[in-house]
Symmetry: C2
Subunit: 151 residues, 2 copies
């Protein structure tokens, strides 16, 4: 049984491969993060988002990470308790709160990023430097287009 055969014959080749790669690379990464750092997926995604924007609301994080708001809500409380993020009421809008990452949170993000970078390296090692550049450009186009188009 050739495990790569389905890549050639599945009805939606590219979407299948993207999903396969995400399963093979990112999901085991979340497992590793859970074991090494005690963070579940929502918690890590919250850290990751806050590490790359100066300030976000929980709603922003939900949209960025495409996760339901309740999982973000839980993650916020957990990470505030643990000192990785800060939560301040928004003086201009009483509904929302301003979330920022703390130095401890940023340090944690840097540690975890190593895990995912290693996994990325492993799969991209199939490509030459030039091919990697091209893939990078194409994925950027597709990802940006997906992010800005309404569902």
């Amino acid at each position: 049984m050739d495990p790569t055969h389905i890549f050639d014959v599945v009805e939606f080749r590219d979407a299948y491969r993207i999903s396969y790669l995400a399963n093979a690379v990112v999901l085991p990464g979340y497992e590793a993060v859970k074991h090494q750092f005690g963070l579940n997926r929502g918690e890590y995604l919250l850290i990751l988002c806050l590490a790359h924007y100066p300030m976000l609301t929980a709603q922003d994080v939900a949209r960025l990470s495409r996760r339901p708001r309740n999982t973000i809500s839980r993650a916020v409380h957990r990470l505030v308790d643990d000192g990785y993020i800060k939560r301040a009421p928004d003086p201009e809008d009483g509904r929302q709160a301003r979330l920022t990452i703390t130095p401890a949170g940023r340090a944690l993000n840097n540690e975890i990023a190593v895990v995912f970078r290693k996994r990325q390296e492993k799969i991209l090692s199939a490509l030459t430097g030039q091919e990697r550049q091209i893939l990078d450009v194409l994925l950027q186009k597709v990802a940006v287009h997906t992010a800005i188009s309404a569902d």
Copy 2:
């Protein structure tokens, strides 16, 4: 807040984009399948695998789809009951069973494939025909390399 900013600055750009695209395209597809056809993710993946190989064991499906064996086990029983797949004892190895798709299962797979093909079209519409060909080649390389390299 620019939702695409993180694509440029995250520590593992390509893996992040791949994961983002999988979340944006495939996971909502599973949701649609659950609502329209009443199949959960493991059940659909089982159908999908069996639609592209003449015969597989549950273990084969677990490896192909990178899902834990117990979810496949549950899916097998459910889909046998529903008449979408067939399960026959292997005369040469009493531990395993031979799984095959039925005509009803194949018809269901064709219906569901339309859902995912549409979603794939939507995201790939950001690229020209030539770019799509290149992306296809590069994703194939990376996916095959990932599939054949031991974890």
